[in-house]
Symmetry: C2
Subunit: 138 residues, 2 copies
Amino acid sequence: MVDKKTKNWAGCPVRFGMSQFGDKWSFLIIRDLMFKGRKYYNEFLEAGEGISTNILASRLADLEYNGLVSKHQDTIKRSKYIYNLTEKGIALMPMMLAMIDWAEEYDSQTEVPTEFIKMLRENPEKLQKELLEQLKQE
Amino acid sequence: MVDKKTKNWAGCPVRFGMSQFGDKWSFLIIRDLMFKGRKYYNEFLEAGEGISTNILASRLADLEYNGLVSKHQDTIKRSKYIYNLTEKGIALMPMMLAMIDWAEEYDSQTEVPTEFIKMLRENPEKLQKELLEQLKQE
DNA sequence: GTATTTAACTTGTAAAAAGCAAGTGAATTT
DNA sequence: AAATTCACTTGCTTTTTACAAGTTAAATAC
């Protein structure tokens, strides 16, 4: 039987999560990187969520500092920086997919592409594998 | 093939999630309700995270407004209010478990009870079933 | 049956964070 | 060499949070 009454998760995993990506903007940046193919400062800005330039810069720096995101000069256009999820960032995919599944169920406004949600529920491993391949080849 | 380039998740599930529970304190309250057996205002306050009284009241009201948490007079001690996760709140369990799994992997400080993390990885359905039963009988 | 305590907040104010508009600097294109 | 692009930074206003103290309603103590 699981001990629910444990009061001392000395280092609490949820608290740790919050310290690493525990605000709205971080989640939205991770979403952009994970599912939307956005990789540049400008693309995050233009995602239409209304994030301010200073907040975006600050969150990207935090995510990089925490090892969730990497930042490199773009090899093609050397004046640009390219942001990518690290392995640690990519490992948040199950959490993000669980959130998407939840939102699709409880929000009538949520419009996840039918194909996506169908695969998420019928063959989540395949979906995850496809998403991971996309992230790695980029 | 999954369409990663979809720019228009008109109602984005991640954005919806953030609007419903998208801050540190909400996550910690949900954690307390879901895994720690805390159900009273005072118990959340004394959880040791350092939340202020006004912020706690505000977050509980938000969570209730959003239908994640219910609030009732305690039947035994009628001066107290008891907070519980609704079905909608309980449905966040997969997301929370995914976060716990991630934190356990990437944070050496995180100390989830061995039995918990072992079951999470070896038999997640059983773990979830046990947790759900606890939540429902309370 | 009045007085004290418990429980769950609310209020006021100071500090911190976010939002907004404009500016900077380095590289690139013209 | 001048103008443009890109990724920020800076300064200021507004909003949110933190902290301490106060309020209210019910329950127990005397």
